[in-house]
């Protein structure tokens, strides 16, 4: 087990290194640089040269990369070339927003997804199953950004129940915070809920037909306690693992959702950084996102290997 963990850890570090190289080289392959994106309306050759100099853009790319990694390892992520704010602060401010969004979406996905999944499995062949399946399929098929537009149209413009944008920290005003986060969480959580629903239904069907459940039923346990206590508990392991794998998509989805609802989170920070060629911010943000993704994958793999030792022997590495 320890050996497996070490191997996985080493692989993760290699991936992280590759990601850092790709993002570093990739952003420099984009036409235009921070000086140009920054100077914009009032660029003069002298000002451009001075900006390039002050951000060390005239140095050899390898030197720049070395400096970036060196500083990053000491926790210094540099300053944004656009706003002059420290990147670490920007990340510190954006992270809670995205984490709250992700948490609310997950909550929604789990409550709706597992609920509908259990109903669909227990009421197999009944209209309820059909309905749950249909909703899940539609949830999978609606583009996130369109759902966002439609919800803004419906609930923020036509019947203004929820606010269409902005972020108020939960600590400052919990009610206002939730009023602003409901629509984004629905947008981000809907696809995930559909995935969870289908996974739960499948796992429940498997469990319900398993021998021990049949034994439990035969022993005279009530239907409710069999479904709740045995089948569901056993299905949850699979569901949780799948949720873990979906977190990567959640991170990507946050980009679009935050863009639509103007939430100052990680996704918005990322896209803004691409458009303003804010090298320091983009490098740091993509690296953090990737690190989170890799970490989650690592955890999922470890959980898997605990559940199913065959994997360690070379199945899905």
């Amino acid at each position: 087990m320890t050996k497996y963990l070490l191997t996985r850890l080493r692989q993760s570090l290699i991936t992280l290194f590759l990601v850092s190289v790709v993002v570093f080289a990739g952003i420099r392959a984009l036409p235009g640089d921070p000086a140009l994106a920054l100077a914009g309306e009032e660029r003069s050759p002298e000002a451009l040269a001075a900006i390039r100099e002050s951000y060390g853009l005239n140095d050899n790319v390898v030197v720049q990369y070395g400096r970036f990694i060196g500083h990053a390892l000491t926790g210094d992520l540099g300053t944004s070339s656009r706003t002059g704010l420290p990147v670490a602060d920007a990340i510190g401010q954006a992270l809670p927003v995205t984490l709250e969004l992700a948490a609310l979406s997950l909550l929604l996905a789990i409550v709706v997804g597992i609920g509908a999944g259990v109903v669909a499995a227990v009421r197999r062949g009944k209209p309820e199953e059909w309905l749950a399946n249909a909703i899940a399929l539609i949830g999978l098929s609606i583009p996130t950004f369109w759902l966002g537009i439609v919800l803004v149209l419906g609930f923020a413009i036509a019947v203004p129940v929820f606010a269409a944008s902005g972020y108020v920290p939960f600590g400052t005003d919990p009610v206002d915070n939730l009023r602003r986060m409901v629509l984004p969480a629905i947008v981000l959580g809907s696809g995930l809920a559909a995935v969870v629903m289908r996974q739960t239904r499948a796992a429940m069907l498997d469990s319900l037909s398993a021998d021990y459940v049949r034994t439990a039923r035969a022993k005279g346990l009530s239907r409710g306690s069999v479904v709740g206590g045995h089948a569901l508990r056993n299905s949850l392991v699979t569901v949780v693992t799948v949720l873990g794998l979906q977190l990567g998509h959640l991170i990507s989805g946050a980009v679009v959702t935050e863009q639509i609802f103007v939430l100052p989170g990680f996704g918005k920070l990322t896209i803004d950084a691409v458009f303003t060629r804010d090298y320091a911010t983009l490098q740091a943000v993509v690296l953090c996102t990737s690190a989170a993704y890799i970490l989650i994958n690592l955890l999922v793999d470890v959980v898997y290997s605990v559940i199913d030792p065959r994997i360690r022997l070379g199945g899905a590495r």
Binding site: A47, A50, R82, L269
Partner: protein, 535 residues
């Protein structure tokens, strides 16, 4: 039909009322100019203002964006300012500057008793420190504007003498913008490069905090010399790029002021009884730039471009004649902007430019004739680089349909901002959408763009006659003579057909009806100094 009528009324009113225009039209109609609302207000409250993008650095020396100027309007006053007619008035200065007979010495006198937001005094040495920083700091965006200033000296506690390389009339206009903002020397010393995160100037409000991409918070500054007339406790600026979202928030009351609203959103806002509209004509322009000689990149000597558009002025003239500016304005902007055909706004207080009704009319037959005379094979294929905003996309598509009738095949290439700058600077384009937010002095709208090898002359235009007119315009003080010079300049630029001016935006600001005292002048900034909630 109603829309058309409204547009006509708008155009007519704008041309009539540029001067005396505070409450000409009702608050809920498009048309006319409405720069302020002088109902009396009570003390207290915080105003939330939506900007259409996140400002860049909050350092007057380094700042480059228009939205940044709006934030500075709340916290960094300038030596001079403009009033609602667009004429210069003293702000931190006690009076307008005096210029020596040879035009090379300018004296600035300061108001007594000014204090920065950090409590230190604003005096002549502080002004000198700021001016020199604006001029000399590496990466300064102000260095070109202040280049003619060879020396700045405090000749008394409240008097600054500037020595110029040559007579430089636009200086007052420059000092009425960011180059005229005075920063606290103590704060500059304390924070250095990090001043942007702790800006300290003289202003009705002072900086509290900033969250990138989310908010900039200012609070009332007790050190401010005119604090008695500041009613709000604070102002919050929030970047909200999406028009729908901005509008929804204005409706719900989460926002009180929306800056730079798009015409279509203004129309929606006007159906809402709780909202009111302010607007002022813009000093900038929007148009398309044609590559006529940019072969080696920005700032280099123009060369020969071997495309039909680059080679032959008749092809460019045909292109311009194929465009219907009125229709473009009606289709894309609901008729709420203003057709334009010269660099300088007709609302300029210094040297008014061409009025919309004097712009050349569309003439497809003449355009076809010109193409025939030029002997080019039709359709003439041209690629237009536009920015990626839906609005610019629509401009491109309308142009595409218009010029098609004259024999041009215009393909569109939406190009994201930084890429666009890189490619147009390098001369790697046929035609691109080119706009400018405008400056108070007409020189700011022409010299960098039209001078041979000028800092932003991406068109590769090189005309000694234009260069001469630009130089003359900068050194002649007599307004009547300046108007003549810029009229002549405009004619020459129009004949070159290298930068085809198409329309001028208007500054539309939507605010809640319970807000009064904001001012929206020709520079497009929202001034919140006297703003407040109505009693």
């Amino acid at each position: 039909m109603r829309r058309k009528a409204v547009a006509l009324v708008a155009v007519a009113l704008v041309s009539l009322t540029s001067g005396c225009a505070s409450l000409q039209s009702s608050a809920t109609e498009v048309g006319g100019v409405r720069m302020t609302d002088d109902r009396s207000v009570r003390d207290g409250g915080t105003l939330t203002v939506a900007l259409n993008s996140d400002p860049d650095k909050l350092d007057p020396t380094l700042a480059q964006t228009l939205v940044g100027r709006t934030v500075f309007a709340g916290m960094c006053e300038k030596l001079y300012d403009i009033d609602e007619d667009g004429t210069f008035v003293p702000q931190l200065a006690a009076s307008l500057p005096t210029t020596s007979a040879d035009g090379r010495t300018v004296t600035v006198r300061l108001r007594p008793g000014l204090k920065f937001s950090d409590g230190t005094r604003l005096d002549a040495p502080a002004v000198v420190t700021s001016l020199l920083r604006h001029r000399d700091l590496p990466g300064s965006a102000r260095s070109t504007e202040l280049a003619p200033v060879t020396e700045a000296k405090a000749t008394g506690p409240l008097t600054v003498r500037l020595t110029l390389d040559h007579p430089y009339v636009p200086l007052t206009g420059v000092l009425a913008d960011r180059a005229g903002m005075v920063m606290s020397p103590a704060a500059l010393k304390k924070y250095g490069k990090n001043f942007t995160n702790h800006p300290s100037c003289v202003g009705p409000f002072r900086f509290v905090e900033r969250t990138g991409g989310d908010r900039i918070v200012l609070e009332k500054d007790p050190n401010y010399y005119d604090a008695d007339h500041v009613h709000l406790d604070g102002v919050v600026y929030k970047p909200i790029p999406d028009g729908n979202v901005r509008l929804a928030n204005l409706r719900s009351g989460d926002l009180q002021v929306g800056d730079q609203m798009a015409p279509v959103d203004v129309q929606s806002a006007l159906t809402e009884p709780k909202l009111q509209l302010f607007n002022s004509p813009s000093l900038g322009y929007q148009g398309i730039g044609l590559n006529v000689g940019n072969v080696k990149g920005l700032g280099q000597k123009p060369g020969k471009i071997d495309t039909p558009v680059g080679r032959d002025v008749r092809v460019r003239e045909a292109f311009e004649l194929a465009i219907d500016r009125d229709l473009l304005n009606k289709v894309v902007f609901q008729g709420m902007y203003e057709p334009a055909c010269g660099p300088i706004s007709p609302q300029s207080a210094i040297a008014p430019g061409v009025a919309p009704e004097d712009c050349p009319r569309r003439d497809v037959d003449r355009a076809k004739e010109l193409l025939k005379e030029a002997g080019v094979k039709t359709p003439v294929k041209i690629e237009l680089k536009t920015s990626t905003t839906p609005e610019q996309g629509r401009v491109g598509q309308v142009l595409q349909a218009m010029v098609k009738e004259a024999g041009f095949e215009l393909s569109l290439r939406p190009t994201e901002y930084a890429t666009m700058l890189a490619e147009t600077d390098a001369g790697n384009y046929d035609v691109f959408t080119s706009g400018w937010s405008g400056r108070l002095d007409p020189d700011g709208n022409v010299s960098n763009f039209l001078k041979t090898a000028g800092a932003m002359n991406a068109y590769g235009l090189g005309d000694p006659e234009i260069d001469k007119l630009i130089a003359e315009g900068r050194s002649v003080a007599d307004p009547a003579r300046r108007t003549e010079i810029y009229d002549e300049l405009t004619r020459r630029v129009q004949d070159a057909h290298a930068l085809i001016y198409l329309y001028r935006q208007k500054n539309y600001v939507v605010a809640g009806k319970d807000v009064a005292g904001i001012h929206v002048y020709g520079d497009g900034l929202v001034r919140v100094k006297n703003a407040g909630y109505t009693r």
